[in-house]
Amino acid sequence: MSNRLINWFRFASPHNFYPLAGRMIPVFWTLSALFGIAGLWMGFFVAPTDAQQGEGYRIIFVHVPTSWLSMFIYMVMATWSGIGLSLNARLSSMMAQALAPTGALMAFLSLWTGAFWGKPMWGTWWVWDARLTSELILFFLYLGFMALQASIDDPRRADKAGAIVALVGAVNVPIIYFSVKWWNTLHQGSSINLAKSSMAVTMLWGMLLMALCFWMYSIAMALTRVRTIILERETHTDWVKELPEVKT
């Protein structure tokens, strides 16, 4: 076994991951800021006005990234949860726990920006289109995960129960999306079509950069939160008590 292989597994222990996460956080904040500046520049000063939607379409530069992130984070959360359950790895479950609130926030922002986009474009604050409805259900799945973990006192039981919820949810997300899409096309026809017809390259770039911005932000947030969770769950250990920030 090479030394490098052993090195990676070292970080599966909260004790070793804590300082590593601490060093990574500023990197991700910086990346987020850089991508954000680039994305906002693209979105507001380079991308042209849309023929049909005027300036209002610019909301996609936050709506689409938050939607993508909400789904991506859910999958990552479910993966870490599954690893924590199958390998009995505490830190993996802690990571899932750390990701959930950020993912839920992304889902909420997706719904909010979706509504703010819908009002000027389609006249109402809420439309039951397939994507927004699926997003709403995803938001409920996040809330269920967080509520279940919050209501179980024993942390290990909460980890494992949460893992089952996350995994069952992950399997159901495609089923839910498909069924909502079917339901929507039957009931509403094609009146609502998010501006996908011909997107200028600059618009795509703007969306991509903003997505990267939110992604880096989410990683930074998850790492920050997991450090807090590690401290909360490892209060009895010596290494925590020896931390410089604890010894003041």
Binding site: E55, T224, E245
Partner: protein
């Protein structure tokens, strides 16, 4: 530069409320969330400090 004036930029062709309502809430969220996490982190640090202090005092009195 697409915008002829800053007033035009803020108006966003009449969609100002919606565009800034969206970007604004996202920006707000990205400030509030880190703030809340930081607060939670400080709380646990405080708890840990008290715990360490209590153990130290306990050892001294023994």
């Amino acid at each position: 530069m697409i915008w002829n004036s800053s007033a035009e930029f803020f108006a966003m062709g009449g969609y100002g409320l919606y565009v800034w309502g969206s970007f604004g809430v996202c920006a707000l969220a990205m400030i509030v969330e880190p703030f809340l996490v930081k607060k939670r982190h400080n709380q646990i640090l405080q708890t840990l400090r008290h715990q360490v202090l209590a153990e130290k005092l306990e050892k001294e009195t023994l």
